[in-house]
Amino acid sequence: MLSMQNVTKTYEMHRQKVVALDDATLEIPEGDFVSLIGPSGSGKSSLLVMLGGMLSPTSGRVMLNDQSMYDLDADGRARMRKANIGFVFQTFNLIPYLSAQENVQVPLYLSGTAAAEQRERAAELLQRVGLGDRLDHKPNELSVGQQQRVALARMLANDPAVILADEPTGNLDPETSEQVIGYFEEFNREGRTIVMVTHSPAAAERAKRVLKLRDGKIIDDRASLQQADAA
């Protein structure tokens, strides 16, 4: 479903070449749940955003459903994201002036859904993440855990086949983190492919597969302990 072929990403910073990702090759089949771990600056987030079509590689190819993403222009990649990918951010990235329901409606509006249907589906999704009574609350009227759940509902709006999450539990307390990871497991059981960047070893082991990065290189690719135990 998702794959990277010899992907390298380099930046020029203060006249020095910085390698964010170094010749990464990766295959993520449909329904997989991959966690990306590694120290800060190891290239985890670069790899994630490249999989999401938001950062073009210096060399190599990134494929989604046999389509080379970076052969498309920026708007073509935006359309591809809209149709296939849902993002979850560490800082939730909710639009501060919109209510919880309206935030969930945004991706539905972008995909051309009619207003009435937008409202209905957004309410349904917020209900699913336990926020059915918070539809009209703005992000600053919600706790961080509730904000992340709104972000999860928004991510689900267009029923994406792929979920890319950038440290989704990074700002949450252990109890809420557990709740969010629980949702990810549920989404994965529904058949969605998940790639999750995390600093939490416990969260990483809840995935099916763990990829470890250091200095832009994938240095380990193994089944998670949970998966190994299950096997």
């Binding site: 964010a20 800060s40 987030s45 670069s46 955003v49 999401g52 938001m54 950062l55 920026a74 708007d75 935006a78 359309r79 994201r81 809209k82 149709a83 993002f87 951010f89 560490q90 800082t91 990235n93 639009i95 501060p96 002036y97 919109l98 309206e102 409606q105 945004v106 991706p107 539905l108 509006y109 972008l110 995909s111 207003a115 937008q118 928004r154 267009n158 950038d166």
Partner: protein
């Protein structure tokens, strides 16, 4: 959720920013509208004053020169009086006043004076084929302001200023200042001219021109007394300077090919120059305000894009295409520009109407057409100034929505 809602909600989320930029646009447009409104009425006032300089287009017999006209028109050449009617019934634009004249010498108390026959406006107007036809059916007034007040009764002395009077009886006469002084005549007295008795209805104020030594009477009376039937020495035209520049003289020439049509260059040039200067000055003010205002709006929009780059990145990561981001910012600019334009028109007009008479000493009336100006300039400037910031936003890297990459 839709584009309008997205823009509207963002505007009201950042109320202080919205109010700041709105007030900026409002003040700019208010100034533009107040200047345009006051300038327009000042131009009209100047045009009105310029008209008092006298006729600026003359219709003369082919062989007569401008010098002949200025030396009291004492030549024997004539043109048919019917030319005045032809002018009256034409569709020429920009003729504010028309005065056919016939000059004949008369001797009074052993001194030579010029008896000038003039045709009251009411008479040639009445000769138009039907009501509503001809040049006076659509008077543009060269700066006359219709204040909606009833017209004041005419003072015959306005002949000096307007070159034409509305009514004059066959036995009435108007006397130039020098002639009155030389003959010791006052208003209300009678005067015998070529064996006919006339009552002096007005002694005209001194003008410093050849008019001071004239005696005016009804054209047809003068024609009868001098045995010159249905002819005139000249037709004086007070044309609006803008229309003269736009080809009024050529049009009169085409209408009266057998006459000589000349402009009194100095008068026309002064009128055109003064109005041109005022229009230019107003345009310079408008241009300065538009440029400064535009720079302010662009600055605001760049700051707004910078502040919202995270939000823009999020929208892009959710699948928003660059065109949508561009539209979000341009729609915001359009809303601000429209509101600023409407508000600026209302406030600018109010200021012009209330302060105009005090500052420029001219009556100022609201000009609905300036609403289009206000909205056009406001929306145009706001959109133009916002285009580059909006384009920058549309070209933002969606990766800006991530904390660490």
């Amino acid at each position: 959720m839709n584009l309008q809602e997205l823009v509207w909600r963002e505007l009201f989320e950042r109320k202080s920013q919205m109010i700041t930029i709105f007030v900026g646009i409002l003040l700019g447009i208010t100034t533009v509208i107040a200047i345009k409104n006051i300038t327009y009425y000042s131009e009209m006032a100047v045009a009105r004053e310029m008209d008092s300089l006298g006729a600026n287009v003359l219709v003369l017999p082919k062989s007569v020169t401008l010098e002949d006209y200025y030396s009291a028109d004492m030549h024997n050449e004539t043109i048919p009086e019917e030319y005045a009617l032809r002018l009256t019934m034409s569709s020429l634009a920009g003729v504010d006043n028309l005065s056919p004249k016939l000059c004949v010498p008369v001797e009074l108390e052993g001194r030579e004076f010029t008896l000038t026959g003039i045709l009251p406006k009411s008479e040639f107007q009445a000769k138009a084929a039907w009501g509503g036809a001809g040049i006076f059916s659509r008077p543009i007034g060269c700066g006359a302001i219709d204040m909606g007040a009833p017209a004041e009764p005419e003072d015959k002395k306005t002949l000096v200023r307007n070159r034409v009077i509305d009514d004059l009886e066959a036995d009435q006469t108007l006397i130039g200042a020098d002639t009155a002084a030389a003959l010791g005549i006052e208003e209300g007295q009678s005067l015998e001219l070529m064996g006919k008795q006339f009552s002096v209805v007005a002694v005209l104020p001194e003008t410093g021109t050849v008019d001071d030594s004239r005696i005016f009477a009804h054209l047809h009376t003068v024609q009868d007394m001098s045995n010159r039937e249905a002819v005139v020495s000249c037709i004086e035209i007070v044309g609006c300077c803008k229309e003269i520049s736009a080809g009024l003289v050529d049009n009169v020439n085409k209408l009266l090919p057998d006459a000589k049509v000349v402009t009194v260059t100095q008068v026309v040039a002064t009128q055109t120059k003064i109005n041109g200067m005022m229009a230019q000055l107003s345009m310079i003010f408008v241009a300065i305000i538009v440029v400064i205002g535009g720079a302010g709006i662009a600055n605001f929009m760049f700051a707004n894009v910078y502040e919202r780059r995270h939000e823009i990145g999020t929208l892009m990561s959710l699948g928003a295409e660059s065109n949508l981001i561009l539209r979000i910012f341009l729609l915001k600019a359009l809303l601000l520009g429209f509101a600023g334009g409407v508000g600026g028109f209302v406030l600018g007009t109010t200021l012009a109407v209330t302060l105009g008479p005090r500052l420029a000493n001219v009556p100022v009336l609201p000009m609905p057409v300036l609403a289009l100006w206000a909205i056009g300039i406001s929306v145009g400037t706001t959109l133009l100034a916002s285009y580059f910031p909006a384009r920058n936003a549309a070209r933002l890297d969606p990766v800006t929505s991530f904390k660490e990459v």
